[in-house]
Amino acid sequence: MNIVVCVKAVPDPKEICKVRIDPATKTLMRCDVPLVMNPLDKHALEAALQLKEAGSASVTVISMGPPPAESIVKECMALGADRGILLSDRAFGGADAFATAFTLASGILKTGPFDLVLCGMASSDGATEWVGPLLANFLSVPVVTMVRRLESTANNIWTLLADWQNGYRRVEVRLPAVITVTRELNRPRALSFSGILKARRKTIEQWDLEALGVPVETVGTKGSPTIVSEMSTVENRREVELLRGTTEEKAEQLVSRLAERGLL
């Protein structure tokens, strides 16, 4: 079984508040926020590794990003992935979800036949949740999003539980397919020292536009149906009143505000 896991290098979600829109230039100010693996992608990789351990499967990790994203692919190799590919080219820059999915799909098709593509259900920075379904579209396979449990994985028709309003839906899907996963699916393993040592000997394949062999107008900004037309900062909407005094006094003031509104 060939499993492909899509991962994304994202600005560390814990420091994301440092990335800001410059009120003067209306462009992004990135203040050296470190890149980390998108948290949900760790669950996708963990699912692949568990499937590998339960049977015979090979796990390929693929990512699209700038050269520093290589460290994220390397991390996946250290966790147990067999093959790592970074799609990197200046032409890929500025891609929306549509162009991103197209580029990833082109990379996945180049890796060879696949049975399963796993993704996190969303990235922490873009958060559109669309790369998985759009990938399925470009790969011409079915997709199930927000999967919380793999109920049955016998043969090539799987039964999955996926999030739904006030509950879940039980879905049957025929492989090959794309599955996007939630955090409930598993607990991602931690990096081990021996894994890091082993990963040192593995090389990451780097594929650019030429390697993918797709027209330049299908990727990056040119391949994106949507564009960001404007960025604006939001003015302070509210007059803020800061409560003064000791901790006790502040708590008392808040209690009386709540009481005034009949909420206690």
Partner: protein
């Protein structure tokens, strides 16, 4: 009415013969956009035993409802729903397609956009059009707003969460057409929904709560999260959170408030350890009184709330809980 341009569409969703609130809200917005653009406003509705649902859509502004009704459509069936809507869109050439950010919409919208080879904006909080007839789709990002347009391709597609737009008043006297559309063969689907299972929800529903206590990354640890939770319990409030809290696994996804989570409008919103990230803050703009507790006086949250409390929440919350309890005990004897 101009006929050079196609209609504004809403892909409506229903359960148990009732149209989902978000679909009604989107129809109100679609009506507005259609009037400005001089085109028709239409809804597409798929399901089984739809009852009065198509009439509900007309009552809030649809000129016409395209209805696909069949047993197999009882649950959202991804490829079948996609194929029906894509072929209708190819026939009718809508200029805009709006879909609710429900579990269905979040999967179906990109499947349709992929087939129609067009762009899509996720979880929009504002929609209007510019002088070039482009739909300006606003999403919160990085402490501000990002405007997204899809200048070259049509339709323009966007998803919007429940609560972003107001629910329009229904006028049962409004007239409109109901058109039945053919349903293709649904056997041998590559992906098939077998059942939808409802689970008892844990805790108070965020959308209905009068008081919400919510925590952000600043809470720092699972133990810290327990402090926030105990405050919610004391106040009999619903418990909400930001994305990093879900990422850390302290709280479930269903408690996430914000652009890609829930939109809430309580009497009082009490945020603990929030930085003031836009994606979260847009979800609480409906709150009547917003209170923030954060130990960093420079945190941007203090520019976006009504009451600011600069305190370590670990010190402040236990004191607050004690004061609330004391107030209640005193209150009982007074009344």
């Amino acid at each position: 009415m101009k006929h050079d341009f196609g209609p504004v569409w809403v892909i409506a969703e229903q359960s148990d013969c009732k149209v989902e609130l978000v679909s009604l809200q989107l129809l109100g917005k679609a009506r507005e956009l259609a009037d400005e653009l001089g085109v028709a406003c239409e809804a597409v509705l798929l399901g089984h035993n739809l009852g009065n649902a198509p009439r509900e859509l007309i009552a809030v502004g649809a000129n016409r409802v395209l209805v696909a009704e069949a047993t197999i459509l009882e649950f959202y069936q991804p490829t079948l729903y996609r194929d029906i809507i894509v072929s209708l869109a190819e026939e009718h050439q809508p200029e805009i397609i709006l879909i609710g950010s429900t579990f269905m919409g979040r999967e179906l919208a990109p499947l349709i956009a992929g087939r129609l080879k067009t762009g899509l904006a996720a979880h929009c909080i504002g929609l209007h059009h510019d002088q070039d007839r482009n739909l300006v789709q606003q999403i919160p990002a990085y402490g501000g707003l990002m405007s997204i347009v899809c200048p070259e391709r049509r339709p323009q597609m966007a998803t919007v969460a429940r609560g972003v737009f107001q629910t329009p008043l229904a006028d049962p006297a409004r007239e409109g057409g109901i058109v039945s559309v053919p349903v293709p063969d649904g056997s041998n689907l590559p992906v098939k929904a077998l059942e939808i299972v409802r689970e008892a929800s844990s805790g108070l529903a965020l959308e209905e709560a009068r008081v919400i206590v919510s925590g952000g990354a600043g809470v720092g640890s699972r133990e810290g999260w327990e402090t926030v939770r105990s405050l919610a319990e004391t106040l009999e409030a619903a418990l909400g959170c930001t994305r990093p809290v879900v990422d850390e696994g302290w709280a479930p996804l269903e408690s996430m408030i914000g652009q890609s989570g829930k939109m809430v409008s309580p009497e009082v919103y009490l945020g603990i350890g929030l930085s003031g990230e836009q994606q979260h803050m847009v979800g609480i703009t409906g709150a009547k009184l917003m209170v923030a507790v954060n130990n960093d006086p420079k945190a941007s949250v203090f520019q976006q709330v009504d009451l600011g409390i600069v305190e370590n929440y670990e010190d402040f919350v236990p004191v607050l809980i004690a004061k609330i309890k004391a107030h209640r005990e005193a209150g009982v004897t007074c009344r």
